[in-house]
Amino acid sequence: MNNLATSLLFLTCIGVALPATAKVEVGRSIPKLAKLVPGAEIPITSGKIVLIDFWASWCSPCRESFPILNELHQKYGPRGLVIIGISVDEKEADYRRFASKMKAAFPLVHDSAHKAAAAFNPTTMPMSYIVDRKGILRHTHKGFRGAKTRAKYIAEIEALLAKED
């Protein structure tokens, strides 16, 4: 009995200490957003190149990234790029205010419970993930550095489109 109690306690401790979800890594498939953010309107992503961007209303570089993401959406949307902006704001009002101010042309999702954020585990804000048509994560971008990040986005998206057209 004592052994059983000790083992259970040990397993509980390990469970608390270790991350609960599998890592999202380049070369591996990403978790399903519909399961992580239930109730959110996630666009159809099967067979599309997907750019997932984690942002927050309190993050200044996120503000700078939105015009570029709008531009990418307009330029590459018809060719098969889907951009999904995932807000990690805790308050619904902050998310709504920022979304209406930035006039995002691409779909936005509010991850108030931080389930998607916990699964993707972004190490900076913002952080974006580029996924190929098969649902495999191909590139990650930590932060947003203006023209430099824009050029990288374009090169990576163009390469994926050329490869898979």
Binding site: T6, E90, H114, M125
Partner: protein, 76 residues
Amino acid sequence: MRRSFLVIPLTLVGICLSSCSQQLVRVKPYERGNLSRLGMSRDLNPLYTAMTEHAYFSREGSFGGAGVGGGGCGCN
């Protein structure tokens, strides 16, 4: 014998609940909404900070070390 049964689990619980467990204590980048508020800023009043730094500079002859280039040698 019974003591050893208690010591091991208690030690493990202690480790998990102490700062050794990153899972419990580390604030993730996406959880920093409250920390990024103006009220949480160290430099809440820029004018007060500027005046304090000026007082240190003029009265104590020290300069730098507060995010300003230069270590007081005057060479920068």
